[in-house]
Symmetry: none
Amino acid sequence: MISVNRLSIEDARTLIEGARAKADEIGVPMCIAVTDDSGNMIAFERMNGGKAHSILVAQDKAFTAGAARKATHEYNAVNTPGNLAFGIHTEAGGHISTVGGGLPVLVGGECLGGIGASSGSPQQDMDVSQAGLDHFLTSL
Amino acid sequence: MISVNRLSIEDARTLIEGARAKADEIGVPMCIAVTDDSGNMIAFERMNGGKAHSILVAQDKAFTAGAARKATHEYNAVNTPGNLAFGIHTEAGGHISTVGGGLPVLVGGECLGGIGASSGSPQQDMDVSQAGLDHFLTSL
Amino acid sequence: MISVNRLSIEDARTLIEGARAKADEIGVPMCIAVTDDSGNMIAFERMNGGKAHSILVAQDKAFTAGAARKATHEYNAVNTPGNLAFGIHTEAGGHISTVGGGLPVLVGGECLGGIGASSGSPQQDMDVSQAGLDHFLTSL
Amino acid sequence: MISVNRLSIEDARTLIEGARAKADEIGVPMCIAVTDDSGNMIAFERMNGGKAHSILVAQDKAFTAGAARKATHEYNAVNTPGNLAFGIHTEAGGHISTVGGGLPVLVGGECLGGIGASSGSPQQDMDVSQAGLDHFLTSL
């Protein structure tokens, strides 16, 4: 038997709260998803005006970040033709996202889950996820 | 041009809040999803202890109820061999659920979305979704 | 943050070892899968002669049992036309199995994962999974 | 009638054993999959700490290597825009992997199956698969 730690629903709400505040600030309503360490969803919110396609994109970003313990923009950097990681974005049923906006939630070096945001530019999505992460880490 | 009404994220949170209270009361942590009138997800919460397979089941129930404007237990009643509706549960990529626990959110005869709960027995899931719906309707 | 317990790879090997011994005894080579509490695979073996379609069936049984914390034959019993659970077998992308042969791995009331066997009759698959579970529980 | 040779479950265990030893040595817990000459899975292990998304990635690498009789890093080299092989990574339902870490198991010029590893960098995954292959070939 092994024991693993993961985000609680309360943690997930805090992550979304921080992300939402940033999305409000920049005026881009977003879809925001939070997963556990296995990439399974814990919570999701589509802000009023969040884009419909982003419902799945936000989830894929959070899945990737939580399960792979890596930011999606880091995958993006190596997902270039000629790089040995190229093509990773279509793996796992296409659920691995290499679009910026997914961040692992690391606490003390341990990955407890992931957060993903979508509806803006990749940079805006990254900013929103980062704001959620910062808000959560500050709350600990 | 036509105009449609749908649940807001605030409405979705109210629906989940009511469902969660019932799930707490009966001691069965649940996955709870809320969709709009197109069956697209607005909000989702997996309570601590909610089952992993229920993440998708709750979404399918809410999708079915919101998009079809029909409770999943009503589909269940006609999804019997020999009935002309039999087999409906594998349509739409298998996303149509005929398992009890999904309810349309009807206001003034208009369907604004759907709520789906999963992790208990179908009857428990129905009770939890109903509690969410009641809580929402009372809040109006 | 919440903490959950799950099977280790060593546990998974013990489960498979017990299942394999039973499959050898009855002379039916099987596919045997073990998942964690989220339904994610930990280990898999296709015995020499195990059937090709069973590769996925065994995984779906183990996914269902581990994630839903319920034996697949228990789902089978309620997956009948007219029952409110009817149609559950096509949910979660069709990965929920209601064919006998998947068992949750419960230790002290806690579900640590699931085991699924496939290639024989459902009863043979159930016997093989049960033998794996018994072997594991005895080893604790 | 034709006769084909393929890896046995005993061979698959030997391949995984060698891969696991290398993963332990470099301190990166991995998901390791072994398939036969048809790309169908024979054995799989997720080491304690192996990443959740790698469960499917390792399988896709082993599928690709075993069925195509080609290392995934060789596909990677030709999966570049302008090359006639470009886009191969989304074929076969997205199961063809062009990420380094999948190797065919060739004995006497004949492909008996494939091995795939995932959770590290592509180079680490390649090293782990190669170690599994070397260990197996030495054991013959």
